[in-house]
């Protein structure tokens, strides 16, 4: 008799535990489902925002708009075919002779006065002029 009572008690206790566990799982899963829904909603909003930014970027980068701006603000002209060249047409770089006499040969190369007045053709107006020593 004692055994039966004990068995009944344990079964009832087990039932309560299982019910509590099931409730907890259900609750957790609801929470997570809500979180998933919220995240996917966020994701959708982000994607829409990205799409609208990309559309705006495309509108701003439209060649017609760029051309109008360039015509108004820049004094550039279209490139002439004769202004194109390739690396094969570049002359050899002249050899540089540096005397290894100084205490710091690398410093000697860097501050080589031979290079000081050589500028590349297109940007020399933009570089600050360094007076030759």
């Amino acid at each position: 008799m004692m055994y039966w009572r004990l068995l009944n008690m344990s079964v009832v206790a087990g039932l309560v535990l299982v019910a509590a566990y099931a409730y907890d799982i259900k609750y957790q899963s609801t929470l997570r489902a809500e979180r998933v829904a919220k995240l996917s909603e966020d994701l959708r909003q982000e994607r829409d925002a990205v799409a609208s930014l990309r559309a705006e970027w495309a509108r701003l980068g439209n060649p017609r708009r760029i051309q109008a701006l360039a015509d108004r603000h820049l004094s550039l002209t279209p490139v002439n075919p004769s202004q194109y060249s390739d690396f094969g047409n570049l002359p050899e770089r002249p050899p540089q002779i540096v005397q290894p006499t100084g205490s710091d040969p690398i410093e000697a190369i860097v501050s080589n006065p031979q290079d000081a007045d050589i500028f590349t053709g297109s940007i020399d107006n933009w570089l600050p002029k360094v007076p030759n020593p």
């Binding site: 489902a33 799409a51 439209n62 051309q67 075919p81 004769s82 194109y84």
Partner: protein, 580 residues
Amino acid sequence: MRNSAKEQSAEQPAPGWRRRLIHTLLYGRGVDRGAKSRARVGLAILAFVLGYGVIALRLVTLAAAPDAHNVRRVSADAVSTGRPDILDRNGNILATDLKAASLYGEPRKIIDVDEAVELLTAQLPDLDATEMRERLSSGKGFVWLKREISPPQQEAIHRLGIPGIGFLVENKRVYPNGAEVSHLLGHVNIDNQGIAGIERWLDKSGLADLHMAGFATDRLVKPIQLSVDLRVQHALRDELAQAREKYQAIAAAGLISDVNTGEVIAMVSLPDYDPNNPREANEPNRINRLTTGVYEMGSTFKALTLAMALDSGKVSLSSSFDARVPLHYGKFTIHDYHPQNRMLTVPEIFTYSSNIGAARLALSLGVDYHQAFLKKLGQLDRLRTELPESADPIVPKHWGEINTATIAFGHGLSVAPLQAVMAINAMMNGGLLIPPTFFKRTPEEAAAVATRVIKPETSEKMRYLMRLNTEKGTAAKADVAGYYIGGKTGTSEKVVNGRYSTSKLLNTFTAVLPADKPRYLLLIMLDEPKAIPETQGYATSGWNAVPAGAAVISRIAPLLGLQPRFDLPLSDRLILAKGG
């Protein structure tokens, strides 16, 4: 059962064998009816078990399914079709979807219609109050009030808190480049369904079905990439607009295609329209002249005639033809625009653009040969591309010698310019006819759909002739230094009231660049350009279409990655000598 019972009672006095016979006829020979009824009971049990099993399974799946209102929210969103983005060949966006809120009403839930109308029209002044009152009193379950309103408006209306008024988020198609790529892209209607151009093609090739099945509501579909280069498209459009204004032409059109793959790199037909405002597209002057219009292409067609003659083997570059006197056909006379009044060699026919010479060339091969050759080049059938807009060529019903004579120099047969470009591409690229496409295509894919129409040697000779024509022919003004251009002009007189008009011209210019290793073909078309002081009173192609073409080439060649080369030998040495 009742039937058999009746039979049994009727057959009561019958002898045993008759009964057996009837039993056999009714139930089949040797059937145990007891076993049969047991089987039936078993079947009934099985059916009940299955039925309850299905119900039980359904209960389980319903319990396991996610919240129903979540699903509803997603599908209520985005009523109009989500469409894939359209990109150009470098990945620039040509068309994309944005989300826009639309205002709707549920008339059955609205308490005070007048108040609702008053409040809404205060926020959206462009709404028509009487029409809105009508709609909201209609007693329907759902009515649209205004599609695509701005976010601040949505916020303001939301704050009004009118019952029975709500928003749905819809996809709205936007074209950030405006009119730049109009005809090619086409446009969509208010429900985001493609109704023209590539947009229509998208719907026809499965997007509509996808949407019907409820899949294409959001950004799930992959973007599609066209063969068009936005920068080249812009350069072409800009130059054409300038030329159209300068020469006061009714219309201007231009096409750039890859000779070796058939891809269309740029396609412009002015006047065009802004796909963001598709109402303009319905004006008849704004059609896409390159695919929907058919034109007599004029001297451009001489390239096809000469290629046919050279490919037949009966004519060589040194053959000469009689162009001393105009050709008479009944009441028709074929003249030359630059009459030389002497025998002309084949290259001279091309460079002097001799109508008489081209006509004699075609006639020497016969009417059937000419017709078969043009058929092979696809000039006599409607050209179908991805664009839904296309037009049938106008082919003479009865094709006699006079037709061959005139079609030889591009009169009497009207084709869509895109169609002519396809044929000239084949003359240039080594003899392969490749159907044009608006999607990216590799040379291998192109080779799979190509058909050989002329020999590679003939194509080489044609390139020589095209180059020769820019060195010392009608297209000399197109010789932009460094790109080794080969070109052919075409000036055709338009038919006005049934006769050819000498003042209304359709000018074309076809250029291949570079002529020794062809990569791109350019077609420029000006409709009724006027003579201006700068052109010394001339209105023929060499004075307007050719300079426009030269301007386009000098702008697009660097964009297309063509390396300028200088000090190249003349065409007879660079192209002809190589071909042997």
